[in-house]
C-alpha cells in the first residue's frame, strides 16, 4: 500500500508544477508586456468582417453518432486491459481466450451493424 502512495508522490509534484506553471508564466507576461487599449483588438476574428452573433449556438451534431460509438468501444476496450495481463497462465488460459474471443465476436456484430446502418459515415 505504501509503495503505491510513494509512487504517487512524484505525480503530486508534477501536478502541482502543471497547475502553477501557466499562471506563473502569464503573471510574468503581464509584468513584461506592454499594454494598449483599442476597441478593435478585442473582437473575435471572422475573416476581417464584423462578427455576427455568438459562437455558442446549437448546431447539427454530426459527430454525435461517433461519440456514442466511441464511448461504447472505448469502454469495451476497458475490459481488455485487465484480461491481457492474466490470460496467459493462471490456469485459465483456454477459458479466458475463448471468452474474450466471444466478447470480441459480439463486439464485431455490433461493429458490422453500425457500419451497415451508416453510423460510421460522415453526414454531409
Amino acid at each position: 500500500m505504501s509503495e503505491i502512495i510513494d509512487s504517487y508522490i512524484p505525480v503530486a509534484i508534477f501536478l502541482v508544477v502543471a497547475l502553477v506553471m501557466p499562471p506563473m508564466t502569464m503573471f510574468m507576461v503581464k509584468q513584461l508586456s506592454p499594454r494598449s487599449k483599442a476597441a478593435g483588438k478585442y473582437t473575435t476574428y471572422e475573416s476581417g468582417s464584423v462578427p455576427t452573433g455568438t459562437a455558442r449556438i446549437q448546431f447539427n451534431v454530426e459527430y454525435y453518432l461517433y461519440a456514442i460509438a466511441f464511448v461504447l468501444f472505448d469502454i469495451e476496450v476497458l475490459f481488455l486491459y485487465p484480461w491481457v495481463t492474466v490470460y496467459k497462465g493462471h490456469g485459465i488460459t483456454s477459458l479466458a481466450v475463448v471468452e474474450m474471443f466471444a466478447f470480441i465476436f459480439i463486439l464485431l456484430f455490433g461493429y458490422i451493424y453500425l457500419w451497415k446502418k451508416g453510423a460510421l459515415t460522415w453526414v454531409k
Binding site: 510513494d6 509512487s7 504517487y8 508522490i9 512524484p10 505525480v11 509534484i13 508534477f14 501536478l15 508544477v17 502543471a18 497547475l19 506553471m21 501557466p22 508564466t25 502569464m26 510574468m28 507576461v29 503581464k30 513584461l32 508586456s33 506592454p34 499594454r35 494598449s36 483588438k41 478585442y42 473575435t44 476574428y45 471572422e46 475573416s47 455568438t54 459562437a55 455558442r56 459527430y63 461517433y66 461519440a67 460509438a69 466511441f70 468501444f73 472505448d74 476496450v77 481488455l80 486491459y81 491481457v84 495481463t85 492474466v86 490470460y87 496467459k88 497462465g89 481466450v97 474474450m100 474471443f101 470480441i104 464485431l108 461493429y111 457500419w115 460510421l120 459515415t121 460522415w122 454531409k124
Partner: protein, 346 residues
C-alpha cells in the same frame, strides 16, 4: 568492477525520483526547443531552403529569441470570452504532458547487470496511465475553443474531438496487443521483454496502426484538421496569442516527443540493441539511454518528414480511416498478437 549503492538512499528514492522528474521537465523543455529547431531545419532541408540561420550557430538560438518575443507580447482576450475556460486551458495541456512524463521511462542504467529505469515512478499500469492522461489535453483544446467565442475555434475543436474519438479506440487496442505479448501493462516490462524480438517485427500491422493513431492523436500533419489554416484560419487556436499560444505550442511539441518515446519503447525495443551487453563502464552505463534517444530522434524525424510527404486529409476521410480501416486492422492485430503470445509462451 562493481558499483556500491549506499543503504541510506533507499528511503529517499521517491523524493529523488521527484527531483529527477523536475530536472526532466527542464530537459524536456530544452528537448522541445530542439524538436522545434529540428522541425524547422528538416522542413527547410526537404524544401531546399535554409531555415533559421541568423540567431546563433545554425539558428540554434532562434527559439530563445522567439521565447523572449512571446514574453513581451500583450495578453489579449477577446470580447465575450469565457475567462475561466480561456485562462485555464493551458493547465490541461501542460498538465497532460507533465503527467505523461511521470510514468514514462526515458532510459535505463545497468549497474552490476541490474537494470535501473530512469523513470519518475514505477507503475504497474503505466501504459494505461499514459494513455489516460494523454487524452486530457483535449479538454484544454475544447476549453480554448469554447471560451474564445470564435466560430472557427469551435469548428476546429469539434473536428479535433471527432478525430480523437476515432483514433483512441485503435490506439487502445494496439497497446493491448503489445501488452498481450508480455502480459504486463508496465511499459518498462514491455520494453525490457522485447530484447531482440522487437514488436515492430512481431506486429508490423500493430506498429502501423499505433503510429498512425498516435499521429492523429497528437494532431500532427497530415492530421491537423483542427487548425487547417486554409479552411479555419488557425482552428481552435485562432484567438490564442502571445505566451498563451506559446505554452500550448510547447505542450504540443512535448507531446510529440513523448509520443515518439512511446513508439520507441513499445515497438522499437526501447533501450535494447542487438549485440549490446550491459557492463559497468561509463559507456555501458549511459549507452542504453543513448540508444533510446537515438530511436526517439529517428521517430521524430519520420514524423516531421511525413508532414511534407503526405497532404492533409479531409475530416471525413480522417474519420473514415479510423473507424472503417484502422479499427478492424487493430482488432485483427489483437487476434494475431494473442495467438502469437500464446505461441511464444508466457
Amino acid at each position: 568492477m562493481t558499483v556500491v549503492i549506499p543503504e541510506y538512499i533507499t528511503p529517499l528514492i521517491p523524493w529523488i525520483r521527484g527531483i529527477f522528474g523536475l530536472v526532466l521537465i527542464g530537459i524536456i523543455f530544452v528537448g522541445a526547443m530542439g524538436a522545434v529547431w529540428l522541425e524547422r531545419k528538416l522542413s527547410a532541408d526537404i524544401q531546399t531552403r535554409m531555415g533559421p540561420c541568423r540567431v546563433g550557430k545554425y539558428g540554434l538560438l532562434q527559439l530563445v529569441a522567439d521565447a523572449i518575443k512571446l514574453f513581451t507580447k500583450e495578453d489579449l482576450k477577446p470580447l465575450n470570452a469565457d475567462s475561466l475556460l480561456f485562462n485555464n486551458a493551458n493547465i490541461f495541456m501542460l498538465g497532460s504532458v507533465f503527467l505523461m512524463l511521470v510514468a514514462l521511462p526515458v532510459g535505463a542504467v545497468f549497474i552490476n547487470g541490474v537494470e535501473y529505469t530512469l523513470a519518475v515512478t514505477q507503475m504497474d499500469i503505466s501504459v494505461l496511465y499514459i494513455e489516460a492522461v494523454s487524452a486530457l489535453s483535449i479538454f484544454g483544446i475544447f476549453m480554448v475553443a469554447y471560451g474564445s467565442n470564435n466560430k472557427y475555434s469551435l469548428l476546429g475543436a469539434f473536428r479535433n474531438f471527432a478525430r480523437m474519438v476515432g483514433y483512441e479506440v485503435p490506439l487502445g487496442i494496439t497497446v493491448i496487443s503489445v501488452a498481450a505479448m508480455t502480459g504486463s501493462l508496465n511499459i518498462v516490462d514491455i520494453s525490457t521483454a522485447q530484447g531482440l524480438r522487437w514488436n515492430i517485427f512481431l506486429q508490423p500491422l500493430g506498429c502501423f496502426v499505433f503510429f498512425v493513431s498516435l499521429m492523429a492523436d497528437m494532431g500532427r500533419l497530415p492530421f491537423d484538421q483542427n487548425e487547417s489554416e486554409e479552411e479555419l484560419i488557425a482552428g481552435w487556436i485562432t484567438e490564442y496569442c502571445g505566451m498563451r499560444f506559446g505554452l500550448g505550442f510547447f505542450a504540443e511539441y512535448i507531446h510529440m516527443i513523448l509520443g515518439s518515446f512511446l513508439v520507441a519503447l513499445l515497438f522499437l525495443g526501447g533501450w535494447n540493441v542487438p549485440g549490446f551487453i550491459a557492463n559497468n563502464s561509463f559507456f555501458g552505463i549511459i549507452a542504453p539511454t543513448g540508444f533510446l534517444i537515438v530511436k526517439v530522434v529517428f521517430v521524430l524525424m519520420v514524423i516531421i518528414g511525413l508532414r511534407w510527404a503526405v497532404p492533409r486529409f479531409r475530416i471525413d476521410q480522417v474519420v473514415d480511416l479510423s473507424w472503417k480501416k484502422l479499427l478492424p486492422l487493430a482488432l485483427l492485430n489483437l487476434v494475431w498478437a494473442v495467438g502469437l503470445g500464446l505461441y511464444l509462451g508466457a
